[in-house]
């Protein structure tokens, strides 16, 4: 019984063939495939061509095993393991072992595995390509931003200078328009840089303790005035449960809320805007804080609500969501970065509500800190020696602007060097109290120049405060500057008040002969 079963099974899976040196079939049991005696076995399947050389080989090499040879016979696929035994120099025994069922299951597994790996590889390649494209885009944006900021710096700077001259009310109004338009352009540039940073995953959320109630109150005051200018009412509602000090990214929350309030004021022509901030939670270490801005503006059609968050998307209807089309995209992406989601409800002709909730930590310390020492203004006007400042700046119009600003402000002496090499020469030959330096300069840029200053053998020069004043606004550039020893990083267009307060701050510190660690903290 067992022998019969074995024989029947064996017959279904195994075939024995004998061939001669001419590759002619001498004998075959034909259990799997029919091979008539006298036929050329290479006519049956091209695999058998390779066996001819086994006749030429030594005795010991005559036994070979070939795994998983695919035979396509009469439209059917077989997977065969083949073994050869050299009987004598003129005859070869071939054993075909049909393992089709086994190999088919292996095939299925490998099909799934390989497809998944190939899919992963393709995704990786696409990501790599996207990264390259993103890199190009970001670099392009950074360069464009720099190129636009440089002339904007002159425009805004000279507008400020002009404002302080004897001009008529009408001229002052015109200057105000130029100033507002230029500032709008700066906002667009900042937005572009932010979008690019978010897309590159380089925008980090920095959670710090801050006076939340004061922040909301200041925002409210600012936008109340802005709304009144348009004869709109701004209703502010702040929930009493809200703690004064919270831990969160003050800068990014401000950016979101400012964008929403600006939007509301811009597209509301009559009625009111309501700004609500509230929490439903008390006595918790982290609380959800909801911000809600509702306007009675033009509203939006429902089918357009999703697309308003795409970069550069504006609704077709004139005067609806115009501008650069970046604001809401940034808001959406920033709320996402803050682990929140921006909700929007709108009805055309009725108004719009934007709402988001972020979770913020509640500071253990809810006491107001005593106000920090205000930087003492550097008072040298009229008496004593004026602090001597060296400016490294290659662009003539910027040199003129700075000279004008320092002359008008008074109390300082300003020398100008047009590149980094000249900055170093001036420092070697004259005494200075502070250096203000552009980063992009010919011959030697501001960063290299700062490295030379910090490594200067004269300790007094090596410790001079260096303020970068540049159109390069990215965090990477700021970080780079910090690493080479720049004390403060100011971006163009120049904020005159910030410029002089920073100059005074470092002049006072330098006078006190600062310790090294004080300098590092200055860039924060």
């Amino acid at each position: 019984m067992l022998d019969t079963l074995r024989e029947s099974y064996f017959k279904k899976t195994t075939q024995f063939i004998v061939i001669n040196r001419e590759m002619i079939v001498v004998a075959s049991d034909n259990c799997l495939f029919h091979m008539s005696t006298g036929m050329d076995i290479t006519d049956f399947h091209p695999f058998f061509f390779s066996l001819s050389e086994l006749f030429e080989s030594e005795e010991g090499e005559a036994k070979q095993k070939f795994y998983c040879i695919q035979f396509d016979i009469l439209g059917k696929t077989y997977y065969i393991d083949i073994e050869t035994h050299k009987q004598n120099p003129t005859e070869l025994v071939i054993v075909l072992n049909n393992l089709t069922d086994h190999y088919k299951s292996v095939h299925q597994i490998k099909q799934v595995r390989n497809e998944s790996i190939i899919g992963f590889n393709i995704t990786q390649e696409l990501n790599k390509e996207l990264e390259v494209q993103r890199g190009f885009k970001n670099k392009f944006l950074a360069n464009v931003s720099h190129e636009i900021r440089t002339p904007l710096n002159s425009i805004l700077g000279f507008v400020s200078v002009l404002e302080n001259t004897d001009i008529s009310k009408e001229q002052l109004d015109i200057l105000s328009i130029i100033k507002t338009s230029s500032k709008n352009l700066v906002t667009i540039l900042d937005d572009l840089m932010d979008i690019s940073k978010i897309e590159a995953g380089k925008l980090e959320i920095k959670n710090r303790r801050f006076n939340f109630l004061e922040f909301i109150e200041t925002l409210g005051k600012t936008y109340k005035i802005r709304a009144e200018d348009k004869r709109l009412e701004l209703l502010i509602e702040i929930n009493e449960k809200l703690p004064r000090f919270l831990v969160g990214d003050h800068l990014r929350i401000n950016q979101i809320v400012v964008n929403l309030l600006e939007n509301a004021i811009k597209y509301t022509h009559q009625g009111s805007i309501s700004f609500k901030v509230y929490t439903n939670s008390v006595n918790a270490r982290r609380i959800p804080v909801t911000f809600e801005v509702t306007d009675t503006g033009v509203g939006m059609p429902k089918d357009k609500l999703e697309s308003i968050f795409d970069s550069f998307t504006q609704l077709e209807k004139k005067g609806l969501f115009g501008g650069s089309g970046l604001g809401l995209s940034i808001v959406k992406q920033l709320t996402h970065l803050l682990d929140s989601d921006l909700e929007v409800n709108s009805e055309e002709g009725v108004g719009t509500t934007f709402k988001f909730t972020i979770h913020m930590g509640v500071s253990h310390n809810q006491k107001k800190e005593p106000s920090k020492n205000v930087v003492i203004r550097h008072k040298t006007k009229g008496k004593g020696k004026k602090p001597r400042i060296l400016l490294g700046e290659d662009i003539e119009v910027n040199q003129m602007l700075m000279m004008k600003l320092f002359t008008d402000h008074g109390g300082y002496s300003l020398d100008v060097a047009k590149d980094g090499e000249r900055v170093l020469k001036f420092l070697d030959n004259y005494h200075y109290d502070l250096v203000i330096m552009d980063i992009t300069m010919p011959r030697m840029d501001g960063l290299d120049t700062t490295v030379h200053i910090r490594n200067h053998p004269n300790k007094k020069i090596a410790k001079l405060p260096v303020i970068a004043l540049t159109a390069r606004s990215s965090e990477e550039h700021q970080q780079e500057a910090k690493e080479v020893g720049v004390n403060a990083y100011l971006t163009k267009p120049i904020d005159t008040d910030l410029l002089f307060s920073t100059v005074d701050k470092y002049l006072n510190r330098y006078k006190r002969k600062p310790k090294d660690n004080e300098d590092e903290e200055a860039l924060s």
Partner: protein
């Protein structure tokens, strides 16, 4: 008089070895990826310099580790065709390593390097990548469009006759 020569197609899985073979032998192409397991063998006669050559082409299951190839598959080969996928750098990043293994084990067998699927990529970009990695390729081909497929096998056959 006809001579028969064994050629082995090698390379990572999914690079299009089977597609190149089908395009050459049957002039067909399918977008569907079907894994080859073990080895699939086809033959085709070509005429080179008035001489008939029967190419016995072994399409061996793809792998990224050439040390895993069964010696019985490569035994008796007159030529190797190393195929990579021009649209997936991972299939040629280790090419030099795999080549050195082949050269060590089969020093007398010539290797032809083929970048397949060029219809999917920017050729200049691929050429730049290959140049950077100092890879001397024979052809950039496409089993889909048929670009350089015929030329590839005919060139291999011609070289085999030259070396015979």
């Amino acid at each position: 008089m006809s001579v028969s020569k064994k050629i082995v197609l090698l390379g990572h899985f999914g690079v299009g070895k089977s597609s190149l073979l089908r395009r050459f032998v049957e002039n067909t192409f399918s977008e569907n990826y079907v894994v080859t397991i073990g080895v699939h063998i086809m033959k085709k006669e070509v005429i080179v310099s008035n001489q008939k050559v029967t190419l016995i082409i072994w399409d061996v299951e793809g792998t990224d580790d050439f040390t895993k190839y069964r010696p019985s598959y490569l035994m008796g080969a007159s030529s190797f065709i190393y195929v990579f996928d021009a649209s997936r750098t991972v299939t040629y990043n280790d090419l030099k390593y795999n080549l050195s293994h082949l050269k060590e084990k089969y020093p007398l067998v010539p290797v032809h390097i083929i970048g397949n699927k060029v219809d999917l990529v920017d050729k200049n970009e691929v050429l730049e990548n290959l140049k950077q990695q100092d890879i001397q390729h024979s052809y950039l081909s496409s089993a889909k469009t048929g670009e350089n497929v015929e030329q590839l096998f005919e060139n291999v056959a011609a070289q085999l006759l030259e070396n015979a």
